[in-house]
Symmetry: C2
Subunit: 596 residues, 2 copies
Amino acid sequence: MSTYKAPLTDIRFALYDVLGAEALFAQLGYTDATRDILDAVLDEAARFAETVLAPLNGVGDEVGSTFDKSTGEVTTPPGFKAAYGQFVEGGWTGLTASPDFGGQGLPHTIGVPLNELVNAANLAWGNFPLLSHGAVEALKQHGQDWQREVFLKPLVDGRWTGTMCLTEPHCGTDLGLLKTRAEPNEDGSYAITGTKIFITAGEHDLTDNIVHLVLARLPDAPAGAKGISLFVTPKFKVARDGSVGERNTLRCGSIEHKMGIKGSVTCVMNFDGAQGYLVGQPHKGLQAMFTMMNTARLGVGLQGIGLSERAYQNALAYARDRLQTRSLAGAKFPDKPADPIIVHPDVRRMLLTVKSLVEGSRLLALHAGTLIDVANHSADAAERERADTLVSFLTPISKACQTEWGIENTYHALQCFGGHGYIHEHGMEQLARDARITTLYEGTTGIQALDLMGRKTASTQGAGLKLFLAQVEAFIGANENNPAVAEFIAPLREKAAEWAGLTRSILQRAAQDPEEIGAASHDYLFYSGYVVLAYWWARSVAAADASSHGEAFKQAKLETARFYFARILPRTLAHAAAIESGAAPLMAMAAERFGD
Amino acid sequence: MSTYKAPLTDIRFALYDVLGAEALFAQLGYTDATRDILDAVLDEAARFAETVLAPLNGVGDEVGSTFDKSTGEVTTPPGFKAAYGQFVEGGWTGLTASPDFGGQGLPHTIGVPLNELVNAANLAWGNFPLLSHGAVEALKQHGQDWQREVFLKPLVDGRWTGTMCLTEPHCGTDLGLLKTRAEPNEDGSYAITGTKIFITAGEHDLTDNIVHLVLARLPDAPAGAKGISLFVTPKFKVARDGSVGERNTLRCGSIEHKMGIKGSVTCVMNFDGAQGYLVGQPHKGLQAMFTMMNTARLGVGLQGIGLSERAYQNALAYARDRLQTRSLAGAKFPDKPADPIIVHPDVRRMLLTVKSLVEGSRLLALHAGTLIDVANHSADAAERERADTLVSFLTPISKACQTEWGIENTYHALQCFGGHGYIHEHGMEQLARDARITTLYEGTTGIQALDLMGRKTASTQGAGLKLFLAQVEAFIGANENNPAVAEFIAPLREKAAEWAGLTRSILQRAAQDPEEIGAASHDYLFYSGYVVLAYWWARSVAAADASSHGEAFKQAKLETARFYFARILPRTLAHAAAIESGAAPLMAMAAERFGD
């Protein structure tokens, strides 16, 4: 099975040296978020991830969550329930939640490495607490006072977990088609009836109650996406005074057999007149949904990073250990029967690809975390707005690129093992199978790309991009004469200008033909992701140079950045060319000519 | 579960219209390989693949091959044995084998679509007969007369199957390290002792005997790769008169639990003084091995095509069927609740990527098949030599690109299904898991890349490339004024020149630093693959235009070619930039700086 060690050195470097998190948290009024406290949190999170969760990753895959058709109950894999108990006891579920609801009130940013570690250690397990955050956000922002009072504390302290019940058999992306009905009861509650599918953690044995946030239609609902409302619908009924009553008329009908994340449970949920309460305004459910979704999307992005980091550690250990053939430049370890495979350029190419994508992604994700803290806690309204615009822009990039790179990275890491990577016992194939879900759930990569290109770029005239490019310009301005990063300034400037130019070009073409948005979206998303990482690599080198880290650390950052600029950033050339080729090569073919 | 229909229209187009196979076969003296015969073979192969093999693909994955530790026996999944019986009865195992050994003597080329169909229908099943071809080739070229007499007929008629026993626990790529011993017996045979791993079809219940071709060291063997000999070592002993005797002292010790191809069996084989006979010269086993390996590599390349084709068919059907949201350009099917997702540019991007890579790869593979026929059967020695050089050059490109594209294509096809693609019942995730082995076995992609860059390019001063480029130049010369392909001529000429230039540049740098070979190899391989496919796409358009196919067919070829040149060929830009960046970004980092 694969092993895992939390990459605390790099996380601390990103947090403190690159992002200046200490000063930022102080400025935002997080008086408890001192470096001592944060370091202790990271140490303890690492211990929990390494010693409690990581050892359960294999059994989660092998045993899986199981379903009893006769009772509708789900049993999680051996050890999952005990680990969840420790997680709750350690206060992890409420780490960044407001003290108003029993949380510890630490910055959102510090939840980012926690989630990276949890996902790396045990992605399937991590899905049980994951969606509670979205439920908390939705109730906090849209719930009535009594709903916040009654549901938030148990969700924050982990006694209950939450779900997002959106998808139905005939609709996932297009929620306007959904059919689940909500009929008003006399007591002000609603009777929810319908079938939801793909409900992560829809049923399990970890907690006494499960809080489903369900999208449904009121009787007078307009057709389509404008007629969807959100309802909080617990497994066991909850009265307005918080007392828990009888079993609600909802039930898990079956669970899916999946390619991976077998320890996680994916439920068909049948609602049969189940008692629910309206959250937010009638017919405004989609807006409330997006509140949950954005949090969840950034969370799924972290799954890509976690899996990549774990895959990297195991591939690196194997590449240093496995003796096979000699270096083409002559034996490097003549006293051994062969050289370790890390001497080979192509093995290094795979390892450095993963390393540069993981460490770069970590900054993208942590930066998004700091933006959420600024958007929620800055004293300056304009700054809050800017941070919100920028994190909205970066969310689809973060979710899609980090998960697609997660697939690429687990691919490379498995490949380093040769045929051994394909065998279950080494654990690399599990990482690859687990990674495969991340580009599908919480909006496929295609949906993220459309979100970036349409909602976050075309609809805002590139407001998010402008803010990001201003940050790039500021870095370039401040470092133009910094010899530590001199070699990266010109390529970064060139890519920033090209990015702006490509954006203008797409928007101009889209004014003539709306298909240009969809045609450019995928390549625009990846183009953006690679330039974002180039910026973070340049900043990493500058920050390492200015830090108190040792020479070996600084040298590794510099060499990884050089690899990134030489070997990964050129992927933008292919994406730019694809973008510039426009919609015609995609749209010309009539549907019937695609094949028989 | 996924469905499958043999793509006979496209195979026939490639074979007859693009490659002119009828005339070629006639010229090579294959008097029986008329179009009537070939068409009947293809029809029958399609029927067998669609109706016998394809329905067993799911059960192969779900039940898998199973191992009985007490007896050392392997039971194949339900239906596999009966299907194998039909395969043998239909004469398929000897389709292209020499009539001298009971084969039907058809051109090697016609085995290519047969293998594509078998692999598409049931990759795991296809692995049982696959390696017999390699064993036949090795025995035919290197075996003694009595060995050919005794072993070839049962292998060709399918009564027995063959294996390749190369890998040991501590060595796969680096066979020079292998430890299995061969001690001479008094009767001229050898006693083989050692452990081999990853032996595909090492044990099974499909045939009465299994013929293992085993690499081992003679007592006086020099160290390393120059001390390896090849032995034929059957499961049941075979005397020089062909009579089958007692059970040999070799046994399956366990089978691997794999990510996919679960119906196929991957064995640990323990040889305990097993009786074997030397094949070829002492210490020349590696040369004999390469005979097996090259055949097997092209065969594995076809696995990538087969899986891609099946994935495409299912993704296309889903994309036409699944209703979800409206086209950004306005409703295309206003009478339906939503548009089918094939209206969306990004879904089309995924489908066209698969379509263009599959149809292009099919030509690369079939072309390699025709080169083998020319190399074996041309009356002109110089032409035989040229064909051999060219197919040697194309083999690593074909194996590595077709399998890597197989992974990419099954990825896209699964992604078209959204979350449903991750669920076992749709069958898409099995295709993705099955595809993952193909870039690992018979030499990883990294090994293919080194083979192309080192053995097939640097060592031959680019002889294979020159032959391929001459073919490109000839096409350009003949079509410069052909309006049907006018738009493709300039980009093809430009890429051909760039390919030659990149090759020169790498070889120059490699003269200073041998690491440049390994550093360029991966990107050079893919650069080459994309240009090869650009050539086949241009030729396809020209051939379609000149053919008797209908307008819709011609239009589809033209539109797919346009997509390929606009959206796929630009990947060469990233590969060229990576090549030009040289070895330094890969080699600078000391092994200890890669991580903790």
